[in-house]
Amino acid sequence: MANLIKLFLSFFKIGAFSFGGGYAMLPLMKEIVIDEHHWLVNSEFIDILAISEMTPGPIAINMATFLGYRVGGFLGSVVATTAVVLPSFIIMSLIFHFVNKFKGSPLSDYFFRGIRPVVLGLIASAAVSVAMDAYIDLKAVLISLVLFYFITFKNLKAIPAIIIAGIAGVIVY
């Protein structure tokens, strides 16, 4: 029981204080999971990261489910996963009501008009940082360029594109 409470509090904290999502959450996760509670050693943490990268879903969820299971079995995984998304749920609920209240007011309209180019820039930067990891050789760049063409101009959908890329990876590597 004590373990479950610790799991809940730790992952609630991770959910509540990690801004930026994805890799931006790792430093805090590492601090809580390794330094504070010694649930994992460093190499295990990296292993779980690798698994997170290979499996679908947000890294924070993967980490919570995996660690919850290790610390407290199935119940532990439910507790940790719930705890990590609970802050999101609370905060997004508040923001939703807040935004709805101010929707249509010129100030919020100006604000959102102004941030749209920034959001585009943020997403573009994500493409760059994924590319730094993904472009291991010319073949990888080629896969990327060909898929970009078909996705953008020939209406290839995301999920078939991922499946095709996985098959291409097995064939060329």
């Binding site: 930026g20 969820i61 472009y135 990888a140 760049v141 953008t152």
Partner: protein, 180 residues
Amino acid sequence: MLLDLFKTFFKIGAFTIGGGYAMIPIIQEEIVDKKNWVSEEDFMDVIAISQGSPGPIAVNVSIFIGYKLKGVKGALTCMLGTILPSFLIILLVATVFFRFRNNPVISQAFMGIRPAIVALIASAVYKMAKKSHLKGIRLLIAIATSLVIVFTDISPIYLIIIAGLFAILYYSRKDGKGEP
């Protein structure tokens, strides 16, 4: 409608490899292009809000869109749909397949999938930029933002807040001019 929401976000959760922004093109395709649940512009606002709030972006986006479409029930449904695939898969990995990552076929497949993720994100940026007629100063802001994020440690939250405040100043003055 709730079942449809659940199925859509379950699909998004199940096919979003790499987390974070990698899910944006898939969500965009499903809920903007295919289902027309939110407009392109609203979708970008949702991304900005999700980025500026703590927690996984995918989860934040799904909660917000759930609220927009079906209130609190919709928010819970979409959130559950998004997290359930990873929960189930990781449970499977933790119990049975912990060693599957050493399988050469799987790692080869992922060497092909990672470049595809780049293509997906780049294509989403291209389409959004085209639809929102991004040029001039706004194009410069977008490029400057990505350079700052790639080359410095400055948090995206600050960039969003600064851009928003400047826009309020800029557009208030501009709109105010024509009035008596």
